[in-house]
Symmetry: C2
Subunit: 419 residues, 2 copies
């Protein structure tokens, strides 16, 4: 079979299977990505992988290269979208309860995850990756529930969204540090340099957002007015391609200085956050993400070793990690929010704690970086995948019950179709 | 350098260069794709290709595989978009002048191109590919001019658009035949089977469009109403992914039965043409095309051998082909339209003849299929690229002059940014 035909067949089969998995789980009321991960596990562990010439792990398979590239681009565009929703003014004006909820909600899971793995197998770097994977809240599912229940204007919703934005930035900085420290022969000086680099990168982007980007937008506006008034032939800027270029080059830069590519993509998204809507970037990037991201969830599943899941000690570890992941976010975020806003009632505190629980895709992305760099063993990788899936399944029904308890309004929950 | 960093650098560099080429040529009033092709020629013939690990022609280069896959997907989505604009009711109701313009405008260039190459080097299969490459009008540029001059409602515009739609379908059938006949050991029976297959594929899709697709849309509408009225959890159909699955599987099917992948993609687009707007498919597929298509134009340029362009006999051939390409469409389409509509005045006939001249990307796609299958020699490939570029540059200024002559209205031409 010639390569083009092989490629088209493989892509078609993978798209169809991912879609079926996603639709089935959406229909059951779970996020679709869980279905895609499970399809990935099935594909990798049956003859199907061979049949579509996806010899996983073989460097010779061009189809494998394509799936790998698509999954990387999917993650990069996904984090770019997350960045597009992270406005600097929300970040800087999130308020004390959101800030405290985010900070405590990052520290507690990180410390708990790290301590657990240190106790279990004493591997410092693996322990740090476990901690980092437990940090990042995936607020998409919570935001969807809040939107569907039309509770966007409540105090709890605003604290959760603000905390999630800060949580994203902190999560990226934790990942940067952990990834940098996991490399061999890293001295204390290297770590200091890395910390400075990561902080400078984030602060630099925040400063650019605040002072440079408004001027860039003004320039484009001026260009546009000039064209209309003078009827001149304009330079044709394609905003999507411009955004893609900025995204890919910042991802490459982040990778180059030893941070993760997704950190660059996330910060690139922040640059465009204020005008994403005006430029219709959100929809366009969402289209690209939709195309590529299934390949990421599929390959997440493909990388899970089924033998690990059959292992009792791994399953016990998974249960402990899941409990820790739920409890640390619940206490960290709830307590932080209460510290910052004394008027929050008990149900409000619970809402914030539960709303910040889902880890979704970001924890898995962190773990897959750890797996790829050989630091996180495959059994702990499987544990993180289970943890992300479990927190994402457990939190939503509790959250909507709590919201209903507090706000006796009309509500309706539609399942999360995509992420 | 690790692969992910290599990949991100290569993609960033290629995007930036393609964009610069496209912007420069748009600014000069030419279609941007010409700039992208020229950038491709430059990249392949300088040290740049090596520098971004794009060792062209080496099967070992993963970056090369990625560029190849992106360019193929770009072409597939491009033809899918063309199909999205090809509505069966326009096809069936185009009227006599459009039908005759299309048919004569296909026969004349095909016969002329084939005869020329037969006389020049006697290679039957190469001659057929040259004929096929001269067939397909790329109506995008003409349509842009018509739109910008606000002349959509004129008789000439309607004939051109109708003829272009029929021309697309005929062009695909010609390509199907030529590609099938170029394979080794093809007997008269095989050719007959191929002709039947190609015709059946096209007619089948037309019948499905007319009788099956309306029912599919009704089903989706019913699902939607059911969800709203019963508040039930729906199956979540992602329409973009559904369209992509149909597009890729029909492309694979076409490739499998010996037609070209783009034929399947084009026919898949036709399936969705009636609801492309309602489902917002046009914009989403355009976003995917925008992302991928630059890689096609870049690789078109990369495959042009600069030595061929330095060869006097190749250049003479190119001049003859360009003249033939212009004259045959002008006479074929103009005469056909006049045959079908006696009331067309002389300027109207000229407008239709000139409006159908640009070959743009489709001719190049046909030629690149010929090159890839080893049937079209690299010098004739370079000739087709020159022909496509030349017809695309020459026609627009003449066309707007003719339109201005006939319709003394306000007009304004903005350069074609993307295709």
């Amino acid at each position: 079979m010639e390569f083009l035909l092989e490629l088209l067949v493989a892509l078609t089969v993978l798209f169809i299977l991912a879609r079926l998995g996603s639709m089935l789980f959406s229909r059951l009321g779970f996020p679709g990505l869980i279905g895609e991960i499970i399809v990935g596990v099935i594909v990798a562990n049956t003859a199907l992988a061979k049949w579509i010439h996806l010899d996983f792990g073989s460097d010779d398979s061009d189809i494998y290269t394509v799936v790998y590239v698509f999954s990387e681009l999917g993650v990069i565009f996904l984090l770019f979208s997350v960045g597009l929703e992270t406005k600097v003014k929300d970040l800087l004006g999130a308020g004390k309860p959101a800030l405290l909820a985010a900070v405590l909600g990052v520290i507690l899971p990180f410390v708990a995850g790290m301590a657990l793995v240190m106790m279990a197998n004493g591997e410092m770097h693996a322990a740090m990756f476990m901690g980092a994977a437990m940090v990042a809240t995936s607020v998409g599912i919570t935001a969807r529930i809040i939107k569907d229940m039309k509770l966007m204007d409540t105090r709890e919703a605003r604290i959760i969204i603000g905390a999630a934005v800060i949580d994203d930035v902190l999560g990226m900085m934790v990942l940067a540090m952990v990834k940098g420290m996991s490399e061999e022969g890293v001295s204390a000086v290297d770590i200091a340099i890395l910390a400075i680099q990561a902080t400078a990168f984030v602060l630099g982007v925040i400063l650019i957002c605040k002072y440079v980007m408004p001027k860039v937008y003004d320039y484009f506006d001026k260009c546009k007015r000039k064209i209309v008034s003078e009827g001149k032939v304009p330079w044709s800027f394609n905003k999507l391609i411009m955004a893609v270029i900025v995204c890919l080059s910042m991802a490459a830069f982040a990778e180059f200085i030893g941070l993760a590519a997704i950190i660059g993509a996330f910060l690139a998204g922040m640059l465009f956050a204020d005008h994403a809507w005006e430029w219709d970037l959100e929809h366009k990037i969402e289209t690209l993400t939709t195309f590529f991201i299934s390949f990421f969830f599929l390959s997440v599943g493909m990388q899970v070793d089924v033998n690990d899941l059959m292992n009792v000690s791994v399953l016990i570890m998974a249960v402990i990690v899941i409990l820790l992941a739920l409890v640390t976010k619940f206490i960290g975020c709830g307590f932080g929010a209460k510290l910052g806003d004394k008027e929050l009632d008990k149900t409000g505190v619970h809402i914030i704690g539960v709303g910040m629980m889902p880890r979704g895709e970001v924890g898995i992305i962190v773990a897959s970086i750890g797996l790829a760099s050989g630091v996180l063993p495959s059994d702990l990788y499987a544990v993180v995948v289970l943890m992300s899936v479990a927190t994402t399944i457990i939190a939503p029904p509790i959250l909507s019950k709590l919201f209903r308890k507090k706000y006796e309004e009309e509500y309706k929950i539609l399942p999360d179709d995509r992420i």
